[in-house]
Symmetry: C2
């Protein structure tokens, strides 16, 4: 007797990066921020935890939305808080993509989009990026014409590539919605995503943001979407009533109010990113220019998987990634290295120095 | 141009009970626990908040699952933690019900099941309960034979009715899954749900539990499902990678470890429930025998909606509920009153005393 939906039966679950729960690891594999969140976050969490846990949270996160709207210079009804940016990605599928409709994303990029489309029973088609991580225009024009949802992580993972506003605006599907996944947006030199929302095509764009990276709050699970209120209204119908807990709403709002803290950590990470890139190149690696809190690196003469395993044996976790079926029927593989604290990057470089 | 899925376009969003965020209300409308959670919860939250917010939580909640499994005397792979029991209800739809497949629930009961089925594009059919809240057997047999998912809240809302194991076991769909929604299970005289999991039909039963009610943690958003590992495995494929944040996982585990605290609050609530029922009957109300943390009450000679509004004008919130199209083409309406602290119930009774 078949109980599961066939789509679920067929599905291979998305595998997130390894998350050892014990200490003692140099953890450079899931793009967490190595610095702690603003002390104001802890204060806000303690205040709510000691007084309001027994009652339901505000189902629409009024106070957080007001703070985010002020920061972005939009109205609060442009904002949808979620249980991690992942939840907003799931909601986007469930709001816009009927079974069989086409969903697209560039490749290589974040593989989760494909999993979410499969769960929803949507059709999925990869847009194969050029070897230099640029868009294969006009070859991908037909996919964009036909898709209901196009996910673009900007900056992209694993490459760290940032696509400028002109490029991105040209990719908005004429009969669908562009999702600009700005999980790493705060690390880019500049983000134009909010500006695109007030352009001619802005009514078909949803920007998603995460508190996991720049705000050092991966453990809190909080993200938000920014879009025209017409789009937000539909997504809100689909979300669970109380999708965000009282602690994350308060913690995220406190984090937003401490921009200085976030920006100081961002500066440190960008400085370390530059140092890591140079040091890797000195060791013979190729490093893709990154505008995120990680770098994508390859070595012409080394086995990347073996390097990953050798580092892991020394309690240093980086992400080994392999992307078969890239443009020109090639397979790309390499290491994606999150930007840790300076001493963690030193440990990594010391280890790599003996390995290559 | 149509952007939303037609199911979403058509959908009227589920409306949760009013959640005034300011103080000064006697809030008896959303079945929250009036007593604070165990102090151990706050300790656990502070410990995690000050040390592990910048890293991702354990994606499968290993430590919580171990604690829940010990309490229930099952293996940890029988447990699925979720961002509130609501998330598990959503996951059940997304795991088991394809568009067009039949989903059933008793009526009157929790209206959210219908909304979740509509979002998924599933067909939904109400099983109209008898006026005494018993099941309309054998009239509902065909619905049960044909449904892929049957949701039964036990105890039921708004009635507080508890259906015994024999009744519930006889309702397991032969070609589908029974979901026993035990959000209020801890307030029942006894719950047989875990026993049903090891019965002949146990492989087609999922029990869901919430920390919002008995554990006083509505603000934390945490619940879990218990089911055969084969079913849990499918649901886990569909859930977001990090669906539970580090604070709720640690807080819920701490709450589970303080059974004495939960049980002491439960005793207080059950005592107050008895006192409220008697006092309402003295005022001329009918009160349905309840095994939950609320009572369903009607008055033969009063307008229930007007009573609700008069109470609200005095800053006392109860839930006015109306269920059209009940068995025999009747409309049922009445007040669902959450069991608050004794002084809150006294305020309610004083107000009602002047109103009826």
């Amino acid at each position: 007797m078949r109980l599961f939906r066939p789509d679920v039966d067929r599905l291979t679950a998305y595998t997130p990066g390894e998350q050892p729960q014990e200490s003692g690891w140099v953890k450079l594999n899931t793009n967490e921020n190595p610095y702690p969140p603003s002390p104001r976050v802890l204060e806000a969490i303690e205040r709510v935890a000691s007084s309001r846990l027994h009652v339901y949270p505000d189902p629409v996160g009024t106070s957080f939305r007001k703070a985010a709207a002020e920061l972005l210079n939009v109205e609060p009804d442009w904002i949808l808080p979620a249980n991690g940016s992942d939840e907003n990605l799931t909601l986007l599928l469930r709001t816009f993509a009927d079974p069989g409709e086409l969903v697209c994303a560039p490749y290589p990029s974040y593989i989760l989009y494909e999993t979410l489309a499969a769960i929803q029973g949507a059709a999925f088609s990869r847009i194969l990026l050029n070897p230099d991580w640029s868009w294969p225009l006009p070859a991908c024009r037909e996919q964009i014409e036909n898709c209901k949802l196009l996910f673009i992580p900007n900056p992209n993972s694993p490459s760290g590539t940032f696509w400028d506003q002109e490029t991105v605006t040209g990719l908005v599907p004429p009969r669908g919605v562009l999702v600009l996944d700005e999980a790493y947006g705060d690390f880019a030199d500049r983000s134009d995503a909010i500006k695109i929302l007030s352009s001619d095509v802005g009514g078909r764009v949803v920007v998603t943001r995460s508190f996991s990276k720049s705000y050092s709050l991966a453990g809190l699970r909080f993200g938000y979407a920014v879009a025209h209120p017409d789009l937000i209204r539909g997504m809100r119908k689909v979300k669970d009533s109380y999708n965000c807990d009282a602690l994350s709403l308060a913690g995220a709002e406190a984090a937003l109010h401490d921009q200085d803290w976030m920006l100081a950590n961002r500066e440190k990470i960008i400085a370390t990113r530059g140092r890591l890139a140079t040091a890797l190149e000195d060791l013979g690696f190729d490093v893709t220019p990154s505008q995120a809190n990680f770098v994508w690196t390859t070595h012409a003469e080394r086995d990347h998987k073996q390097l990953y395993e050798q580092l892991k044996a020394g309690r240093i976790l980086v992400r080994y990634m392999q992307f078969p079926d890239c443009i020109g029927e090639t397979t790309i593989d390499g290491l994606r290295i999150s930007i840790g604290r300076n001493e963690e990057i030193d440990q990594l470089l010391t280890a790599l120095n003996t390995l290559v």
